[in-house]
């Protein structure tokens, strides 16, 4: 479970202070699929960065799987990020001079897994996204949709508890966007919690719950209700999103 309470994040320069998140509180339960929406500059990406332990916050508490992450060292945060969080980026962020196999291998290297274990995980992840036949292609040899699937494979290979997707369909066409969304739903159905930032209302509607952020605060949310068309999961995602004070 991901639980943020009273989180504030301020970006400071010599001239101005920008309140990216103000007293932000949110709970995301195990197995949920949450869509985060909001206008540009509302704080969606800041929320994702904080959730993904890529940035620190100024005030508040954040517990990931019950662990208070605000007191962790960089080493511990990196380990947690590596083992529990998978990232999917709008611009894919594949490393251009590594082939797809080696790209998917990156997070596994930092987990210090054995060669056989890594290879098995990479092949499985590429199987899931349908890129087994392209594993030795360079990113530049793939279409945008294929690159995004490769980045999903990279996120999946480490078997994360949480998948953070920041505009995952922003750089692909509508057909490919639906395929990516189908893939994310499949992954969620397998038990992985998915938090997705999107501008697309249609995609947001396919999530279990929508969280709308305006000026760094949650302005609206839709409580989680299991959908009829989704098979029952082992986990019981009793997610509660709290409105900011």
């Amino acid at each position: 479970m991901l639980e943020m309470h009273g989180i504030s994040k301020i970006y400071r320069t010599d001239l101005i202070e920008t309140h990216a998140l103000r007293d932000f509180s949110l709970k995301v339960g195990d197995g949920e699929f949450v869509a985060v929406t909001g206008p540009s500059g509302s704080g969606k990406t800041t929320f994702m960065n904080l959730a993904g332990l890529l940035e620190t916050f100024d005030t508040g508490t954040y517990r990931l799987d019950g662990e208070d992450v605000s007191r962790l060292s960089d080493e511990q945060r990196s380990k947690l990020r590596n083992e529990k969080i998978g990232f999917i980026f709008q611009s894919f962020n594949l490393i251009p001079d590594l082939d797809i196999f080696d790209n998917v291998d990156v997070p596994l290297r930092y987990r210090r897994l054995g060669k056989k274990d890594r290879e098995q995980r990479i092949r499985n992840a590429l199987d899931v996204v349908g890129l087994s036949s392209r594993m030795h292609h360079m990113p530049s040899q793939l279409s945008g949709g294929q690159q995004q699937r490769a980045s999903i494979a990279r996120a999946l290979a480490g078997d994360p508890r949480f998948l953070l997707a920041d505009e995952p369909t922003g750089n692909v066409d509508s057909l490919m966007a639906r395929q990516v969304m189908d893939l994310l739903e499949q992954i969620n159905e397998m038990g992985t919690t998915v938090i997705m930032v999107t501008h697309d209302p249609e995609l947001a509607h396919r999530a279990h719950r929508n969280v709308h952020i305006v000026d760094g605060q949650i302005s609206d949310f839709k409580p989680y209700e299991p959908r009829d068309d989704v098979p029952a999961m082992d986990v019981a995602p009793a997610a509660v999103a709290m409105s900011p004070a």
């Binding site: 990196s78 990020r81 611009s91 490393i95 997070p107 920041d166």
Partner: protein, 445 residues
């Protein structure tokens, strides 16, 4: 992880070949200049027989011109060579544990009826203690006896190089060889021996290689050998014969003694003082008494083997290395920051700051290793260039040829210097890249 970091390092270096070449070139150039300068400095400033520094003494007496000192820049010093009569008189003392007088000569080595071409060979004409006093290593046989000195007996010792040439490196002890048309018997063959600087005789510069042949000093008079080093005099003398040369005030012989303790040193000092006083009474030694026993380290300073210019040159070489490394720091920073987006991705995927730091440090290590090897090679070429530039006589085996010998110590020093200097230069860029917040690159890439 080291293997993975190494793999990434080579991959990253290949990504920007131009930048990589610049960095390696900067390191290599700095190292090359340092290697060259350090090798020269080491060759000129080291005490190659430091373990006997407290027992070996050069013997000098001041029988020079009463009107002006031998060395106007250093008037306190006595001439560093002796006349034949003074040297042979001092050799009569039995106070030193070991003693020698010597000079350099040139002879031609040849074998009877052999196909090996005769070779002009620098020769040291010396007394028997030369080898034991200076801890000269032998490959075969040894030095000669006191009787061989007095005889004199036709015996000689060959350098390893000459033995390789004339006897193909075999044990030639007992074999016959001609030295200047006179047949000699080989009694010893030296092993590799390269004392730098050649402290025992700085006649023709301190970077001479040791001589090729060694014959008993007793041959000097019967063969009427001239010195192949400096022969100097201060007063006009009619010298028509060799005997007149021996009896003259001409200085041309070097003398060294081994005095194992302070007592023997004091006794020998008293001995040469008495000798000089007696000579003064006889009308010689008209300058104030200045009889010196000089240790090897002081001897090298007195003879200006190490000059301030050399130290300044070493300082400049290190300053040049610092400039090269500063440039490398700038290039590394540019290179690492250019790849900051990829580093951001790695951070997002679980790399800690420490892992990012070590990944980049390994890359720096690869650059430094390649730079060091290249620097050594360039340094070697520069030394060869120096040798070619300063080699006055190409048939002369000595001179600055010794500079070409970059020994293991120099290689290890250069490699360590390159490695640690470049790693030190890479610490900041590697640290800096790890401190960059990854999030700013993830959205923008």
């Amino acid at each position: 992880m080291f293997g993975y970091y190494l793999h990434l390092a080579f991959r990253n270096l290949r990504r920007n070949p131009g930048l990589t070449a610049l960095m390696i070139g900067a390191v290599a150039l700095g190292i090359a200049v340092c290697v060259m300068t350090l090798t020269m400095y080491r060759a000129m400033s080291g005490n190659p027989i430091w373990w006997k520094n407290d027992v070996l003494y050069a013997v000098t007496l001041d029988a020079w011109d009463p009107k002006e000192p031998y060395n106007e820049d250093k008037p306190e010093l006595a001439p560093w060579q002796l006349t034949y009569r003074d040297a042979t008189a001092l050799m009569e003392s039995d106070i030193p544990k070991r003693k020698l007088i010597m000079h350099k000569a040139i002879g031609v080595l040849a074998l009877d009826g052999q196909t090996v071409k005769p070779e002009r060979a620098l020769t040291r004409v010396t007394t028997k203690d030369f080898f034991t006093m200076f801890d000269v290593p032998f490959q075969y046989g040894g030095g000669w006896t006191d009787a061989a000195d007095k005889g004199p007996e036709p015996v000689l010792v060959l350098s390893k190089k000459m033995n390789d040439k004339f006897f193909r490196g075999e044990n030639s002890v007992g074999r016959r060889i001609h030295w200047d048309d006179r047949e000699f018997r080989v009694v010893g063959v030296l092993d590799h021996w390269l004392p730098l600087p050649t402290f025992y005789d700085v006649n023709n510069g301190a970077l001479e290689e040791p001589e090729d042949v060694y014959i008993p000093f007793g041959w000097s008079v019967p063969l009427e050998l001239d010195s192949a080093g400096n022969t100097q005099g201060w007063k006009p003398e009619d010298i028509e014969t060799y005997q007149e040369f021996l009896a003259s005030e001409t200085i041309w012989l070097q003398m060294w003694v081994e005095l194992p303790d302070a007592a023997s040193q004091q006794r020998f000092q008293a001995f040469i003082d008495n000798y000089a006083s007696r000579q003064k009474q006889a009308g010689r030694f008209q300058r104030p008494l200045n009889n010196r026993l000089t240790k090897v380290d002081q001897w090298l300073i007195d003879n200006e083997v190490v000059e301030n210019d050399d130290r300044v040159l070493v300082g400049l070489a290190f300053a040049f290395l610092a400039v090269c490394l500063l440039n490398t720091v700038g290039l590394l920073l540019a290179k690492f920051l250019n790849n900051a987006a990829i580093t951001g991705v790695r951070r997002a995927l679980g790399a800690s700051r420490r892992q990012v730091f070590f990944q980049h440090l390994v890359e720096v290590g690869v650059i430094s290793s390649i730079g060091a090897v290249l620097g050594l090679a360039i340094g070697g070429l520069l030394l060869m260039g120096l040798r070619a530039l300063y080699a006055i006589d190409p048939t002369d085996a000595g001179g600055t040829q010794a500079l070409a010998h970059v020994d293991l110590t120099s290689v290890v020093t250069a490699l360590a210097l390159a490695f640690f200097a470049t790693i030190a230069a890479g610490l900041y860029p590697a640290w800096r890249i790890g401190r960059i917040p990854p999030a700013i690159y993830l959205k923008a890439q």
